[in-house]
Amino acid sequence: MLDIVAFWITLSLNYVLLATGLTLTISVMRVVNMAHGNWYMAGAYVFLVLSERLGLPYGMALLLSMLFVGGIGMAVESKLYRRLGGRIEPSIICMCGVLLVLEGVATVLFGPDIRGVPAMIKGTASIGKTVISMERVAVAATALCVITGLYCFLKYSRLGKSVRATAQDREAASLMGINVKVISSLSMGIGTAMAVIAGIQITSVYSLSPFVGTTALLTSILIITLGGMGSIVGAFIAAFIIGLSDSFGASFIGRYHHLLSFGTVMLILIFRPRGLMGTRVEAESKER
């Protein structure tokens, strides 16, 4: 049982890391970033090039990957998404295009095969009879640091407050002198950078290929839908709920455990359509 609990906790924190970046971009841009999973994938490949081919130390390669891919994310937001004027359908189509471009470029440059990504820490630790891989522990620790850092940034920093204000009411924020275009780009950059961290950490536990982005995206969308669009705390709780059904479900139900995950999400949404921590204001502003 202890190994299943350990699996649950590490899996859930994986999901937290995955979904947090998407939550941030949704809250500001009001559109689901369909390319989120492939930013996760692209970041891992950039890290691979920096750490293996150029031989940079782990930390430096991680930071540079975040800056590089985050920068591309910001450029894509300002040059592509923003031109669509916030219209949902064209934005989604555009993001799907970015998704396909990223996947295609990765396939051409790196081939379709799975690859190993260097882990921050290697080895295993034993608690009684339960063995835990240190890579998972590193992912869990990173997830906690990232989410804590993001929470503090949004709550206490001036820039974070601008992001929250833009997420709450774009027009009002603009009237208050906040440059919403810069905030949008910044949010996209931060969200993409967080996807990069998730990609590097999670693929070091499993494996990397140009096609891992789709699963990452679907999991992220499930989590943010359950947690409430734009709510980081909601995403955290939702990640643990879905992690619980995935880990215990896989252990006791087997291959149909996805029914448990999706069934749980559906049930919660029936009684709480805005998600666990979604707000009524959001629902009303959407109606407007």
Partner: protein, 421 residues
């Protein structure tokens, strides 16, 4: 005396002259073909999506093989010399993709033959398209029991299948005989797709036979989702079994699943052989993911024809030539021997069947494939008779089980194909 000696000398001179003339006549070069033609070979392969790690290298090796055949002068039939053209079409390993691929190859590209294919719908769509256009179709799909209702009778379709699938009933017994004599129990897991479920079903049906004949007991079986990244739930159960499993048979596992099974089973302390049927596409990357020590427990099947016990010297040489061409193109060594086992092998079969038939007509090629042994990269194929599950012809050859040894895969056991009835 002198006259007799002269006569004797003249006689030998005459004999020598006749011999020389005979040799000169025999050595006279064959008449050059007066006509030229093109033979288009279409290949339906997953060039994108989750199966692309297999599809892309196979298509590339197919192209390099075609290039080598053209360098050697192409294929000559009668007074026509044919240049070979290879057309790879992306079917994404999805039913819709295969349908579109079939139509594209047959009706747009108008190919002379189709090779390739991974999934059961291949038999439906390629067979349909091939039968309509009356062209040979050589694929590698093993139909599952009970699925014949959806596959058409296609008289020009041949299944040059992965022999491992045809000889699944001998797979673990052959491994026990060849490499693991102390094997007594096994745990069976498979991914949840058409292949995985049908292979799982085949093995489960074999349990009584394996137990009585070979003393092999199945102590666990389950199926995992194809998207499963983490194999902990299944491996935890295997680790907790009251009767220890001597081997984990991940009968159908995609590369990411396989890497996790090898890695996590080792981390959990299971440290038993982990066996799968698909070959590893890149052993070094696999070792990077799961770790060197964990990888040494891994058995797969398939190997390059340069290592295959029944490949002819000519085909071994051709395979090495293709490898050299790969290295010249990519700058890296190519180790995924299994890539020869599908498209390239099917091309070899088609081309050699043309040569044997001395004809490019479909009916002649079909007759040869049905009745004669035809050489390919892994030996010689013999038709095993008509039908199974809507596929009229299954062509047999032996399989090989390989083990990760260091940074390579080395053959350790032979899985004999079924004798031709």
């Amino acid at each position: 005396m002198k006259a007799r000696g002269l006569f004797h000398g003249l006689r030998w001179a005459l004999v020598f002259f006749v011999m020389l003339s005979t040799v000169a006549w025999a050595a006279e070069p064959a008449k050059k073909p007066t006509k030229t033609g093109v033979l288009k070979i279409g290949a339906s392969q997953p060039l994108s999506g989750i199966m692309a790690p297999w599809g892309i290298p196979e298509a590339e090796i197919g192209q390099l093989y075609i290039d080598a055949l053209n360098e050697d002068g192409g294929v000559t039939v009668g007074d026509t010399n044919y240049k070979l053209v290879f057309i790879a079409s992306d079917d994404k390993a999805t039913p819709d993709g295969i349908k579109a691929s079939a139509d594209r190859l047959v009706f747009t590209e108008k190919v002379n033959a189709i090779v390739g294919g991974f999934l059961m719908p291949i038999a439906t769509d390629m067979g349909r398209a091939g039968a309509t256009a009356n062209i040979p179709v050589i694929h590698a799909v093993r139909e599952a029991p009970g699925l014949d209702v959806v596959t058409p009778k296609a008289p020009t379709m041949f299944d040059l299948c992965w022999p491992q699938l045809q000889s699944m009933d001998m797979y673990i017994p052959a491994l026990k005989k060849g490499a693991l004599p102390n094997l007594k129990t096994y745990a069976l897991i498979s991914k949840d797709d058409t292949y995985g479920r049908s292979m799982m079903e085949s093995i489960l049906n074999l349990r009584p036979e394996w137990q009585t004949k070979y003393g092999l007991e199945c102590v666990y079986h389950d199926i995992f989702p194809i998207t499963a990244q983490d194999m902990t739930p299944w491996l935890s159960k295997i680790a907790a079994l009251p009767k220890k499993a001597d081997l984990i048979f991940a009968v159908s596992a995609a590369a990411p699943n396989m890497a996790m099974i090898a890695k996590q089973s080792y981390e959990m302390g299971l440290k038993v052989p982990v066996v799968t049927v698909p070959d590893l596409t890149d052993v070094r990357e696999f070792i990077k993911i799961c770790g060197y020590d964990a990888a040494q427990y891994v058995y797969t099947s398939g190997c390059g024809p340069w290592d295959y016990p029944k490949s002819s010297p000519k085909m071994k040489e051709m395979s090495l030539r293709i490898l050299k061409a790969w290295k010249a193109k990519h700058g890296t060594d190519f180790e995924f021997g299994d890539a020869f086992e599908w498209v390239a092998n099917q091309i070899a079969l088609y081309v050699n069947a043309i040569k044997l038939a001395n004809s490019v007509k479909t009916e002649d090629i079909v007759r040869v494939l049905e009745t004669k042994p035809v050489e390919h990269f892994y030996g010689v194929s013999v038709a095993s008779g008509e039908k199974t599950y809507g596929v009229r012809h299954i062509l047999n050859y032996d399989a090989v089980i390989s083990k990760v040894t260091g940074y390579e895969q080395k053959p350790v056991a032979l899985v004999p194909s079924h004798p031709v009835p």
